[in-house]
Symmetry: C2
C-alpha cells in the first residue's frame, strides 16, 4: 500500500502555507514533538486556511459545491495534523493512520462564486479510540457561515483496528487540544429506514477513488445529494448534513442508496454495497448512514 | 438563465490574484478596454496562476487528478479573460458568452501530491468564429510538464449561434493576442469508431452540472477515463488527450460511451446522449469525441 513519506508530507505542510492554503497566523516559533518527525508551531492550536470560490468550484446555483467544500475540509484536517507531526505515525514498525468515522455540517449560508471564505480547524478532545476535530467557516468579514464537526479514529494500517490514542500519543497529544473555541457538537441522529426501498444504484469508478485506494468520503455525500431532484437546490439549501462511515467501498463496488423522509425536508439515507436484492435491506454491507436537512431559501436568490 | 454580473466577475478576477490564483506578474498599470466594463493590465498578455497539489486533489496514484487540473485550466481561462473584460459581452441588449469547442492536453509528467505547479494562459489568435487559447504547465523549477491547447467560440446566449469575433471586438481584441510564446498546437484527430459497441452507460446528476446548467466539460473526461480499468493508471499515464465538444448534455441525460483502440495504447471514444439502441451508433445525439493516448511509466513509481 502506498504511504506518503514524512519528508513529502512536511513539504506539503510547508507549501500549503504559502499557496492555496494560507495560514492565517504567523507564529513561526517551533519545537520538536515527541515522535521527532516534524516541527510544530508552539502554542498554536488552530490553523486557518483562506479560499475563494473559483469558477467551477460552484454548483449550478453558483454556491460552493459539496465536492470542493468537503475536500477542502479534509485537506485542512490533514494539513493541520501534518504540520504538528501527527497526521500518521510509525511506531515499532507499525504504521497508523487516521480514518474519518463521523462528520456533520451545519451551514448557515453558502459562499458563492467569487466570494472568499476561511476554514479554521482544531482538535477539541481525544478519548480512548477517538478524537473530535472541529471546523468553523467564516465569510470575508469574519462572520460565521458554517460549522463542521468530525470524529476520527487512528487505525493500524495492516490490521485496520482502531488504537487507544493515549497509548500511542501519551502526554504529547495534550498540547494540541483546544477547548475554549466554540465548536458545534450535536448528538448524531439515530438513522432508521424501516419499510423503505432502494432508490438508486450506481457503480464506483477510477475517478471516485482517492489516495487511500477507496471511495473518497466526500463522494458519498455527492452520491446521496444526487438522489434528490436537481431543481430542489434552486429553492432550498442543505442546512444540516451528517454522515457516519461504517465500512470502505472500492472501485467497482455497486452502491445502493436507500432514502426516506423522516420529517418535512429531513431525510435519512443508508448506502450499502454489493446488494443482491434491491427490495431487501438485509443484503449487502452498510457503507454509511446519513441525515440531510433542507431549508427553504428565504430570499429568492438569483438561481436558474 | 443565470448570468454573473460584471461587478461580480471583476471581484472574482481581483480576488483570484491575491489567493488561490496568484498572478505571477506584477504589472499593475491599467487602461480601459473598449467595452468599458473592466480594466486590464497594459501590455500583459499572459497570466500565470500558481497551485499546490493538496490532499484529495490527487487520484489514487498520488498524481494530480483530471478533475482538478481540468477545472483549474478552465478557471484560469475565465480569470484571464475576466481581468481583460472579455469573459462575456453584452452588446445591443444581447448577451454573448464563450463556449469551449475543442481541447487537447499533452502531458510530459504529472504533478504529484504536495508539488507546486504553475498554469500560464494566453490567446494566440482569433479568426472569424473561433479563438485559440494556449496554456503551459510548469513545475516548481519552471520546467515545462505539460501543454493545453483550446479552441473557443462566442455564442449568442439566446440563439446559441456562434458570432464573428472581429465584428464583436473590432480592433480592440488585437492587443490581447500573444504570438511569440510557444504553444502546443497539433491537428485534431479524425475520430472514427466503425464496428464498435457501447461500452458503458451512465446517467448525469446534480453534482455533474456546473453554473452553465449543463454537464461540466471536464466531467466528460472523467466519464471517459472511468471506462478504462483502474489498474491501468498504476502502470501508465495519459500522455495525450483531446476532446471535441459537439453538443451540451443536461442533468438526467443518459450518456452512452463508445470506445475503440485505434493503435497500441491509443483509443478513440464517442459519447452520445439518450441513445435508444446500445448496439446501434446511429441513434442518439453525439455529445463529444475524444482521443486518449496512454504512455507506460518508465520508472516504476510508488503506486498501489
Amino acid at each position: 500500500m502506498f504511504v506518503r513519506e514524512p519528508l513529502q508530507l512536511l513539504k506539503i505542510a510547508v507549501s500549503c502555507w504559502t499557496n492555496t492554503f494560507v495560514n492565517a497566523k504567523n507564529d513561526t516559533s517551533k519545537k520538536n514533538c515527541k515522535n521527532n518527525r516534524k516541527t510544530m508551531p508552539e502554542g498554536q492550536k488552530v490553523d486557518s486556511f483562506k479560499f475563494t470560490v473559483q469558477p467551477f468550484d460552484d454548483d449550478y446555483t453558483g454556491r460552493l459545491s459539496w465536492s470542493v467544500l468537503g475536500k477542502h475540509v479534509l485537506a485542512c484536517a490533514e494539513n493541520h495534523a501534518g504540520a504538528r507531526g501527527f497526521d500518521r505515525l510509525t511506531l515499532n514498525g507499525h504504521r497508523f493512520l487516521w480514518v474519518l468515522s463521523r462528520m456533520s455540517f451545519d451551514m448557515i449560508t453558502w459562499p458563492k462564486l467569487g466570494e472568499e471564505y476561511t476554514i479554521s480547524t482544531w482538535i477539541c478532545r481525544y478519548y480512548r479510540y477517538f478524537t473530535d476535530r472541529c471546523f468553523d467557516i467564516r465569510d470575508a468579514n469574519g462572520n460565521i457561515i458554517g460549522y463542521v464537526f468530525t470524529i476520527w479514529a487512528m487505525i493500524d494500517e495492516t490490521t485496520r483496528k482502531p488504537q487507544v490514542l493515549e497509548e500511542l500519543f501519551g502526554h504529547t497529544f495534550d498540547p494540541y487540544i483546544e477547548t475554549e473555541r466554540y465548536c458545534s457538537v450535536q448528538p448524531f441522529s439515530r438513522i432508521r429506514l424501516d419499510n423503505s426501498f432502494c432508490l438508486h444504484n450506481r457503480p464506483t469508478y477510477y475517478s471516485d477513488i482517492d489516495e487511500n485506494n477507496h471511495v473518497n468520503s466526500i463522494r458519498y455525500i455527492e452520491f446521496i445529494l444526487d438522489t434528490f431532484p436537481k431543481q430542489l437546490f434552486s429553492t432550498h439549501q442543505v442546512s444540516h448534513l451528517e454522515i457516519a462511515y461504517n465500512s470502505e467501498s472500492y472501485c467497482g463496488d455497486q452502491l445502493g442508496i436507500w432514502v426516506k423522509e423522516s420529517a418535512t425536508d429531513k431525510y435519512h439515507i443508508v448506502v450499502k454495497k454489493n446488494i443482491d436484492d434491491k427490495e431487501n435491506q438485509q443484503t449487502g454491507e452498510t457503507v454509511c448512514h446519513c441525515a440531510v436537512t433542507f431549508k427553504p431559501l428565504i430570499r429568492q436568490e438569483k438561481i436558474k
